[in-house]
Symmetry: C2
Subunit: 113 residues, 2 copies
């Protein structure tokens, strides 16, 4: 089967994070993100229309929310970021690998037959 080694042959560290789509299906898009110390600009907030679920596979990352809460994510730690929730990446360790599941449809959408 076509296998993928998510922790091997990582793209070289650079000024930007690396985003790579792994697969896309109706309702969902799976992405690998490789971070090397990048953080969101001060005062910048992501605010997405749809839920996102992320898990750290390697390294560490801190997600900050606009209520001041911070999620400190180590390998195996996952968080669901609900649609509309303002958040930013406050910290990443070099060679941090995330998996992100982007749900393209709201939770209330009808199940596909």
């Amino acid at each position: 089967m076509p296998s993928l080694h998510l922790l091997q042959n990582l793209p070289a560290p650079g000024p930007e994070e690396h985003f790579e789509e792994i697969l896309k299906r109706p309702g969902v898009r799976l992405e690998r993100i490789v971070s090397d110390g990048q953080v969101s600009p001060p005062g910048f907030w992501y605010q997405q229309n749809y839920d996102e679920w992320v898990v750290v596979l390697q390294g560490a990352g801190h997600l900050e929310y606009d209520n001041g809460n911070i999620d400190i994510l180590a390998p195996g730690d996952a968080v669901l970021i609900p649609a509309g929730r303002r958040h930013r990446v406050a910290y990443t360790e070099p060679r941090t690998v995330w998996l992100a599941l982007h749900f393209d449809a709201p939770d209330s959408a009808p199940q596909l037959a």
Copy 2:
């Protein structure tokens, strides 16, 4: 945010694997599987109607296919098992943790608006 520590507080090893649904959305279901040496019975093959994507987070697992191929999965290794592909779990290390994405809809299904 509600966070989940996929590698902590694992269920105690027992005779059966542990399956836990993490979330379910239109088109996709995300599951954590904890294996402790369990394998598929000899001669048993899984054959699913829809694609499944799995990644090993911890431990190791071997997936065998009916053409004799074996995928040896270490942490970070992922594989897409296409619908209809006969496969079985040929080996698992104690305390192996998998993430499985089950796609409830065929790849050709229309994208949700």
